[in-house]
């Protein structure tokens, strides 16, 4: 029997319940022992514009998404139009039969450009500009079109509030039934999703019943899926995982100014200021709490986080491109005055306001070169949930150990990926403290008496010392002495050499797959798991590939990267940006010129099928640059 592997898309208007529908489906499958992996796509809009969740359900933990999807649930007519190209022969499309009379010109939330493309396609196929037209389009392609009488089914079964309150549940229920998931698990999903509201659970379970009933009586009925024992897991997004990691890593002060897709991390932390403790914590510590401050802007956020670090507190901020642009000066100050601070940087589609709710990996060079002048900072990047957690911890450790700002890059795709994480190892990463000052009498905060560049750290309330962003002497007073200047510059930069020496290679770059392979992918961020899947997929097809996955850009593992790439044959750089920034960094540090690229900059997540297809094109030398375009 083939392993269950379902690609699913649930679409509807922003604010119209697609989150809950997706949640119910995920929960039902989770509790049935499956793994799920999903990514949310939505407009920069509060209500009305098109939004969807693309996910995949397997018993094994999935690592990537695929188009065409097996089943698409349309909670509004726009979904049918927007995703015309995301279904194919064999796919099922579920929608409300009330949409049948809907005319495309009334889909006012579809932007004119998208509209143009939809119309072009319908016109070419000589189809009408309405739901009927798109359904004909589907049918002609061999897609199963399943109309469900939403209002009727709901009105016949529940009487608590208006019918449209239950559209999402009905959508979810129908999907689950059509996929053959046990009804019992569907009910469990509902119970989980509406945990604290028994009345709501009751009504929604009735809707589930109606859905299952409808499917059972129809010709659509399918075989029941196997179920598995459910192990405890956490359903996390990248935002959640990072918040969790930072808190475990000792974070006690977080600043933020609201911005997508960063602020979900901070608002989550804000609602957990009173954290819970493990057994190993002694009683005093149990009274501790976290402080999260919503600042007046990002200038305040970075500088306030810097300020909090001066009392010995582990502090951080989180932001996205526009906010990060405002932080350049504050990051430079932290570099100059040797403040341990973490900036969790959620990349989104730029430049400028760009595509605020879409993906991007175009901030790498900016992060690496941010701030005027030369100062040490670290730049790390995460690519999956586990890395978000443990890198969240490590980012704070690095900051403490090397007394410098640490920029932790995460992309929007990862931030909004939903993944079931099986186990969190609280002993995986030890907490590292700053180099403590022992000489309180005549404290030299910037003592030059150090080989690794790390001076004893100073704490307000415990020591008297000075700090300034001007060049300074060992006590921290302003100096313009030319010799002292040179020494201080050298001391500060020395810390990067130390970090490079101390940090193990596996935290900087990792080679996945066989050492010798025909193809070597280079990537960073959320493409990690996708490319690991790609390698397996290629292997099945008899093609050997491996992946040089980058985790740390400053200090950069130049020697290792050069070694790997010099042994490689066909190197393909895969990034969600237009200029291949990681490839540029590689060339800057190693001189090696990567010549093949798979890039995507339309703001949508990459999928397995498009990477595979592009790889073939490159292998066949049809092209050296593949620009991926999937996604609505």
């Amino acid at each position: 029997m083939q392993e269950t592997d379902i690609n699913l898309l649930v679409g509807g208007p922003q604010g119209g319940g697609i989150d809950s529908a997706a949640n119910m489906i995920s929960m039902a499958f989770s509790l049935a022992g499956y793994n799920i992996y999903g990514i949310r796509e939505f407009h920069s809009n509060i209500k009305g514009r098109h939004s969807y969740i693309h996910f995949r359900i397997m018993h094994e933990r999935p690592k990537s998404l695929k188009y065409p999807v097996d089943i698409m649930v349309a909670l509004d007519p726009d979904t049918l139009f927007e995703h015309m190209f995301d279904v194919a022969k064999g796919s099922k499309v579920v929608y409300d039969s009330a949409f049948n009379t809907f005319n495309l010109k009334n889909a006012r939330m579809i932007t004119s450009d998208t509209m143009g493309r939809i119309q072009d396609e319908l016109a070419e196929k000589n189809l009408s500009f309405d739901v009927k037209g798109v359904l004909d389009y589907f049918k002609s392609t061999g897609i199963d079109v399943i109309a469900i009488p939403f209002d009727k089914l709901i009105n016949e079964n529940v009487h608590d509030g208006p019918a449209n309150r239950y559209y999402n549940t009905l959508g979810a229920g129908t999907t689950l039934a059509l996929l053959g998931l046990d009804e019992e698990h569907a009910d469990d999903g509902i119970k989980f999703a509406f945990k604290k509201k028994p009345k709501v659970v009751e009504s929604n379970i009735k809707v589930i019943r109606a859905a299952y009933d409808y499917v059972e009586k129809s010709p659509l009925k399918v075989a029941t899926l196997p179920t598995y024992p459910a192990i405890p897991r956490m359903l996390l997004t990248g935002n959640d995982a990072t918040a969790l990691g930072k808190l475990m890593g000792g974070l006690r002060f977080q600043t933020y100014y609201p911005i997508t897709p960063a602020s979900d991390e901070s608002t989550l932390l804000e609602s957990h200021e009173d954290m819970k403790f493990l057994q190993n914590a002694d009683k005093i510590v149990n009274k501790a709490g976290l402080v999260v401050v919503q600042c007046e802007d990002e200038l305040s956020a970075i500088n306030m986080a810097n300020g909090a670090a001066l009392t010995g507190t582990r502090s951080a901020t989180a932001t996205s491109g526009p906010g990060f642009s405002l932080m350049a000066e504050g990051i430079g100050y932290a570099g100059m005055t040797e403040i341990p601070v973490v900036i969790t940087f959620y990349q989104r589609g730029g430049p400028s306001t760009g595509l605020p709710t879409r993906n991007g990996q175009a901030d790498l060079l900016f992060a690496l070169n941010t701030g005027h002048g030369e100062f040490p900072k670290m730049v790390i990047s995460s690519g999956d949930m586990e890395e978000c957690i443990y890198d969240g911890m490590k980012s704070l450790n690095y900051a403490q150990r090397y007394q410098m700002p640490v920029i932790h890059l995460i992309d929007k795709t990862l931030a909004n990926t939903m993944d079931l994480v099986p186990e969190i190892d609280v002993k995986k990463v030890k907490i590292v403290k700053y180099n403590e000052n022992t000489n309180h009498e005549n404290f030299k905060r910037y003592s030059l008496d150090t080989e690794n560049g790390i001076s004893p750290y100073g704490v307000f309330g415990k020591d008297i010392f000075w700090m300034t962003g001007d060049e300074h002497d060992e006590l921290g007073h302003v100096t313009e002495d030319s010799a002292m200047r040179d020494k201080m510059m050298e001391k500060r930069m020395q810390k990067l050499v130390t970090a490079d020496r101390e940090i193990p290679l596996e935290d900087k770059a990792v080679l996945y797959g066989d050492e010798n392979a025909d193809i070597t992918y280079v990537t960073w961020g959320s493409q990690k798991s996708l490319l690991i899947d790609t390698i397996s997929e290629l292997k099945k097809q008899g093609i050997s590939a491996n992946l040089l996955y980058l985790r740390m850009f400053e200090p950069f593992p130049a020697e290792y990267v050069a070694k790997v790439l010099k042994n490689s044959h066909l190197i393909i750089d895969v990034e969600s940006n237009m200029t291949g920034q990681a490839a540029k960094v590689i060339r800057m540090f190693t001189g090696i010129n990567i010549e093949n690229f798979i890039l995507k900059y339309n703001g949508r997540h990459m999928t397995l099928d498009e990477v595979l297809k592009s790889t073939k094109n490159i292998m066949e030398k049809k092209t050296a640059l593949e620009v991926l375009q999937e996604g609505s």
Partner: protein, 314 residues
């Protein structure tokens, strides 16, 4: 807590770093007043921290024998708030120029009024940008021409007192750098006040401001407290409307007579630290700075699953 605690009253809050302000600069008076206030209060030097921006004014922390951070232009307030909220036991003094706090830093100045986190802002008002050679500061009146300007000032002036009151500060005062005793008294009062304070200090800049000179101020300033009926302190919410209004109107006085003293002190507004204490259990006793984050073996003490229990799927 190791320095000078044996006899705190005698601790020398002025260190031995050479001051490089111009002769006659009003900033000297401010340093004297600050050190006097700290001595008078027998402050433990470890319990007070100086935070400054960039400007002539910004150099102040280097001259004080307490921990000090000379931050970025306009950003002293965010730093100070970071220090204060992570360790509310510290007394945090902010020293900033009028350009620093009211031009590039105006957003934080306003924001801190809303927070009222308990920092004490000493605003050096010389009506010019000293360190960058005498451009107009936001406190220079429209049409005024100090010697460093090519043409009369084309921008209007901000009154720091009214702006502070509109922003929500619960302690608002004005002083004059040559009235060291009054200034030192006001600083003491501000430190004792729970919420955030703004103390505007009128300060001659003999190098660039040839209009608002030492004499110009000497001839004009008068003390609010000389009027025995002057009582700017709000201890009950009901008194606020009237006292706010009185203070506000008083602060608009300028020209031949310039009032100095405390304009407004409202003790009924909780500070941010106290607001936080209502949310984060035992925040004041175990603030972020005083917590241990690792167990004795160096591992995390946070239980991720219990903390984020809503994410747990079982």
């Amino acid at each position: 807590m190791q320095k000078g605690v044996e006899d705190k009253g005698k601790y020398n809050f002025r260190n031995n770093i050479t001051i490089d302000w111009c002769p006659g600069c009003g900033d000297f008076g401010i340093v004297s007043a600050v050190t006097q206030a700290l001595s008078n209060m027998k402050m433990d030097p470890d319990d007070v921290v100086a935070v400054s921006g960039i400007g002539c004014s910004g150099k102040t922390p280097h001259y004080l024998n307490i921990a000090g951070v000379h931050t970025l232009h306009g950003r002293a307030i965010p730093y100070a708030v970071g220090v204060k909220l992570s360790n509310p036991n510290l007394n945090v003094l902010v020293m900033g120029g009028d350009g620093d706090l009211l031009s590039i830093g105006a957003g934080h100045f306003v924001g801190e009024g809303r927070r009222n986190s308990g920092v004490k802002v000493i605003l050096y008002n010389n009506s010019v940008y000293g360190l960058t050679k005498g451009q107009a500061a936001p406190t220079l009146p429209l049409g005024e021409k100090v010697k460093s300007l090519a043409r009369p000032n084309i921008m209007g002036k901000i009154n720091p007192i009214t702006l502070a009151m509109a922003s929500g500060y619960s302690f608002v005062a004005r002083a004059f750098s040559s009235e060291i005793k009054q200034l030192s008294y006001i600083i003491e009062r501000a430190i004792k006040h729970e919420g955030s304070a703004v103390i505007e200090v009128l300060q001659p800049c003999p190098t660039y401001n040839d209009v608002n000179t030492l004499d110009w101020y000497r001839q004009r300033v008068y003390k609010l407290e000389d009027d025995k009926s002057w009582d700017p302190v709000v201890n009950k919410k009901e008194e606020d409307e009237e006292k706010f209004d009185t203070g506000y109107r008083k602060s608009l006085e300028w020209g031949d007579h310039i009032p100095i003293g405390i304009f407004y002190e409202n003790n009924t507004i909780p500070s941010y630290t106290n607001r936080l204490a209502g949310i984060v259990p035992e925040y004041l006793k175990y603030p972020p700075a005083l917590q241990e984050v690792a167990d004795k073996d160096g591992y995390t003490i946070v239980d991720p699953i219990k903390t984020f229990s809503e994410k747990d799927v079982e």
